[in-house]
């Protein structure tokens, strides 16, 4: 019995070795170093790392959806994107262009796959662990973007966009995007004021139901949606404290009783179901809430990524104004 195992193993290893000989790529002495065009780009990323590029990056890999959106919005089709399927479901404001390769999950992108793509720039975010960034730096130049910072979400968003624009040589596109965003904000603010909603209290949320427990995620004033709401002249009604980067807080249905008479907007996605219209609709606490009674509960359309870039936020402003002024 054991001898059989031994024999089989030996044959297997021998076969494997034979089959595995040869190379998939010529060794570096064979490949003549091709001359790169001049026009180096030097920039300092959000973590303070100095990154030098030989020229505007075109083969770009992105590890988070917000930077994917920035790239797409700037007119750069990324070659590698984390969780393509998820992005397609959650971000329709800036649909993917080209046919990017899926590099795995956002939390743990496959470094093998990124390496095999041989990109000339990897855009990572502060959510990726330092050890992984260190590995990615061996593969290609990496710029790290701050994903979110509760102290200044809009500033963080535009800084990230500018960094990516600089690395890809799309600075004029970036300026145009920012201008569009500002216009959108101003128009939205005016539309809301005209509808008599200036200074109205708003609470944005999303929610999940697992088994029979509902958890509500509050977008406090430190969140990106919260910041945009305030720019639109609305007042954030959440009193719970959000986390330091995303400005999110978890609460339950009871926690909604402190909100009072507000405009309640929530994000859901058909891919995951709607906790508010579904399991919560029959809940007595929910039904007793003043904004539920007044019909001031609004589901925002699918595909507006709550942590995205200017494109997502413009889509958000449009849908919010639509919902509130209807």
């Amino acid at each position: 019995m054991r001898r059989h195992i031994l024999a089989t193993a030996t044959v297997a290893v021998a076969a494997l070795s034979l089959a595995a000989c040869g190379t998939t790529e010529p060794s570096s002495d064979d490949a003549a170093a091709s001359a790169k065009p001049a026009g180096k780009i030097t920039l300092t990323d959000a973590k303070g790392t100095k990154v030098t590029l030989d020229g505007p990056a075109t083969k770009v890999v992105a590890t988070e959806w917000n930077v994917v959106e920035d790239l797409v919005a700037l007119g750069v089709a990324p070659v590698g994107v984390a969780d393509v399927k998820g992005y397609t479901a959650w971000n329709t404001a800036a649909p993917l262009t080209g046919t990017p390769k899926d590099i795995g999950t956002r939390g743990e992108p496959s470094i093998d796959t990124v390496a095999a793509l041989a990109p000339d720039l990897v855009v990572a975010t502060s959510d990726l662990s330092p050890a992984v960034v260190k590995q990615l730096r061996k593969v290609a130049p990496v710029i790290e973007i701050t994903s979110a910072d509760a102290a200044d979400q809009i500033g963080t968003m535009t800084e990230g966009l500018d960094l990516i624009a600089k690395a890809t040589g799309k600075e004029s596109e970036s300026a145009a995007l920012k201008k569009d965003f500002d216009t959108s904000l101003a128009e939205g603010k005016k539309a809301l004021a005209d509808a008599g909603l200036g200074g109205a209290e708003i609470a944005s949320a999303d929610g999940y139901v697992a088994s029979n427990q509902v958890s509500v995620r509050a977008y406090t004033s430190g969140s990106l949606l919260g910041a945009v709401n305030e720019k639109l002249g609305l007042k954030n009604a959440w009193t719970v404290k959000g986390d330091e980067s995303y400005g999110l807080a978890t609460t339950d249905v009871e926690g909604l009783t402190g909100l009072g008479d507000v405009q309640f907007t929530y994000v859901a996605n058909d891919a995951d179901g709607d906790a508010f219209a579904g399991p919560l609709a029959k809940n007595a606490v929910w039904k007793s809430l003043p904004f539920v009674k007044a019909g001031d509960v609004h589901r925002l359309p699918d595909g507006v990524w709550m942590f995205g870039g200017p494109r997502s936020m413009e889509a958000y402003i449009d849908s919010l104004v639509d919902a509130l002024t209807k």
Binding site: C21, S110, N212
Partner: protein, 688 residues
């Protein structure tokens, strides 16, 4: 005359016994009521005691009363139902298996139910509650059937816990893999996994209450037969009690109860194990509690008090807003773990180490053939591990890379892949050796760094450092892991040593501590980084993801030291593993030798955790399998266990990186998926 006196005394006793039992029950009912009253005054809404009173008397504002009726009361009732169901189920399972460690947790019932619910979540089908409860029941029952089928009812604690732990690990690994693969679909399921009694209205409670009542009634009907089983199978048969039928029915009913609890609140850890354990000392004092008809409901009440108490404690200690994020199950697990440790220390059960498995002693040739076969297999796996991945390479690429003249892509790929393969190889070897040493010192085939909580302690140490310090270095992480491991090891071994490493005591202590460590890791991550469950899962599931070469150095250094020690001290190791007396007769300093081996074992486990996260199973399977293959002499066991451990983790890492590429699964998940069936096969094969 004498006869009359005897009956008088007997009647006195039974009266005293009854009053005692009544007093205990009344006290518990009162305790549960007080806790329930406190529980409904706590929550995120601004509804305190006076508003609750107004609401209950019908004088409150509509908003307040709806909070009480649709949120507070359902949560309180759910906590009571869950506690009663789990406590009773645990007591019944322990009674019919005559095993103090039987419970929904150790029979893998919770893990089976969790997997069933996980599969449903992934398919995105939203089932009505009773249907998902049915699925949880089927999953739990299947798991319990497998465990009991493999371990045999009433045939000793060790086999049951071995089979249960193995299956639970395997099943939760599959569930966790689902969570990693379908993060959106399973959002919320991770914290739900820790168990939380919060409810969305009364619906679920109203649907589950009848199930619990039916389960309790069923157990009450079975109570007399369960008592008969306590006398032993033959005596029970003599009384005309169908032994097999009673066991099967009781297990099915107990599973139904735990499934109802899981559906209501997720797996609330340890209540089923603790509640009966807390009743047992009471039984000794109040003889009236001996009968199952009394002791089962009392265990249920204790269970309710445990769950409610944890919920109250949590909200009393942390502000309500934060408390929402902390699953109740984390608290019951920590509370339960403390009780478990206390119970373990009071355990008077003298079931010392079982007679060592009678193993044939294979010839020298057989040993050599085994070593060569394993070495060849390991080389094969290593070659495959280096070549395979999202980017398939060929050996020539590796040659080029080794000589530093590979092309750009190959260099990138191998620069990141080789550290991962090395981490898997070394962590596997280190865990196997650590398990071998611990099993020798404790003379306990169940003991391994994972089961004993040492790996969990190491993980906790590392997670604390990673969440508090910005980008710590490899040696710092290894140091923090060692700190955590050393504290848990000192605790577990220190307490276990007092009983001469008694089988049950060591396992109880270890199970308690490792569960507490896992719960605390979850707690640290929930509180510090609530929206990054991937990070939590990666740490808890053991992964070589993102390892760089320097991260591997600590484990390599310690492994070399460990191997040197095991080789030079192989005879002492044999003696320590033999029995208590022989080493003393030979003039060996037994305590010092034990301590030395344990320190090395802890170092090995800690550095392995720092390199690859908490990987369970390897330290259990590798030495066990090695002994089965080549006998119990350490000169043979050590090399075979090392090879097996390295092989297992490398294979797991390879599979985790490639099977669902470009997404990845942790090596720890894969060792459990690969290791569980193998381990169960071993259990079946060694059954006599």
């Amino acid at each position: 005359m004498a006869v009359i006196e005897k009956t008088a005394v007997g009647r006195d006793r039974s009266v005293a016994a009854t009053t005692g039992a009544v007093a205990v029950t009344a006290t518990l009912v009162l305790l549960v009521m007080v806790l329930a009253a406190v529980d409904i005054t706590q929550g995120t809404a601004d509804v305190g005691a006076s508003e609750v009173w107004d609401a209950l008397t019908g004088n409150a504002a509509a908003g307040d009363s709806s909070v009480v009726i649709a949120s507070r009361l359902p949560r309180m009732v759910a906590a009571v139902l869950v506690g009663v169901a789990l406590g009773t189920a645990g007591a019944a399972l322990q009674a019919v298996s005559r095993n103090v460690l039987a419970s929904p947790d150790t029979l893998a019932v919770n893990a089976g139910s969790y997997l069933a619910l996980g599969i449903i979540a992934v398919t995105g089908v939203s089932l009505p509650l009773l249907a998902s409860s049915g699925a949880a029941f089927v999953g739990g029952l299947a798991a319990a059937a497998v465990v009991l089928g493999l371990s045999g009812l009433g045939k000793g604690t060790v086999r049951l816990v071995l089979a249960g732990t193995a299956l639970a690990l395997g099943l939760s690994a599959v569930t966790e893999a689902l969570l990693l693969l379908f993060p959106q679909e399973t959002e919320g399921l991770y914290s739900w996994n820790q168990g939380s009694v919060g409810q969305n209205g009364f619906d679920a409670v109203v649907q589950m209450a009848p199930v619990v009542v039916v389960g309790l009634a069923g157990l009450m009907l079975l109570a007399r037969r369960i008592d008969a089983l306590a006398l032993g199978d033959d005596a029970a048969r003599g009384l005309g009690v169908p032994v097999r039928g009673t066991r099967v029915t009781t297990v099915v009913v107990a599973t139904l109860l735990s499934a109802a609890a899981v559906t209501l609140a997720g797996p609330i850890g340890f209540v089923g194990l603790c509640a009966p354990a807390l009743v047992r000392p009471l039984t000794r004092r109040f003889r009236g509690l001996v009968r199952s008809r009394v002791s089962l409901p009392v265990a249920g009440l204790v269970g309710a008090a445990l769950v409610l108490g944890s919920d109250v404690l949590l909200r009393a200690v942390v502000p309500a807003d934060t408390a929402v994020e902390v699953p109740t199950g984390v608290v019951t697990t920590v509370v339960g773990a403390v009780f478990l440790v206390v119970m373990a220390l009071r355990l008077r059960d003298t079931a010392s180490a079982e007679a060592p498995d009678r193993l044939r002693i294979p010839s020298r040739t057989a040993f050599l053939v085994t070593v060569v076969a394993l070495a060849v297999a390991l080389v094969g796996v290593l070659v495959a591990a280096v070549l395979l991945g999202d980017a398939k390479l060929l050996l020539g690429d590796v040659m080029n890379w080794a000589q530093g003249r590979a092309g750009r892509v190959v260099t990138f790929v191998l620069d990141t892949r080789v550290p991962r393969v090395s981490a898997a190889l070394l962590a596997g070897g280190a865990l196997a050796l650590s398990g071998t040493l611990v099993q020798a010192v404790t003379r306990n085939p169940l003991a391994e760094p994972g089961v004993l909580g040492v790996s969990g302690g190491a993980g906790l140490g590392a997670v604390l450092l990673v969440t508090t310090v910005q980008s710590p270095g490899s040696w710092e992480i290894a140091g923090a892991a060692f700190g955590g491991a050393a504290v848990t090891a000192a605790f577990v071994f220190g307490l276990a040593a007092r009983g001469g490493f008694q089988q049950n005591r060591v396992v109880l202590l270890g199970v308690g501590v490792s569960a507490a460590a896992a719960a605390l890791i979850s707690l640290v991550i929930v509180l510090s980084d609530p929206f990054d469950t991937t990070k939590a899962l990666t740490w808890l599931s053991g992964s070589t993801y993102g390892r760089n070469m320097p991260d591997v150095v600590p484990v390599a250094v310690v492994l070399v030291l460990g191997i040197l020690l095991a080789v030079t001290r192989r005879r002492e190791l044999d003696l320590v593993a033999l029995d208590e007396d022989t080493p003393r007769l030979l003039g060996m300093g037994l305590p010092r030798a034990r301590l030395g081996f344990l320190v090395v074992a802890v170092l090995l486990a800690a550095t392995a955790v720092a390199a690859a996260g908490t990987i369970a199973f390897v330290g259990l399977v590798a030495p066990h399998a090695a002994r089965a293959l080549v006998g119990r002499r350490h000169v043979r066991v050590v090399p075979v266990a090392l090879l097996l451990g390295a092989l297992l983790v490398c294979l797991a890492d390879l599979a985790g990186r490639t099977v669902i590429a470009p997404a990845q699964l942790g090596a720890g998940l894969m060792t459990a998926v690969i290791g569980a069936p193998y381990f169960i096969y071993l259990l079946v094969r060694t059954r006599r």
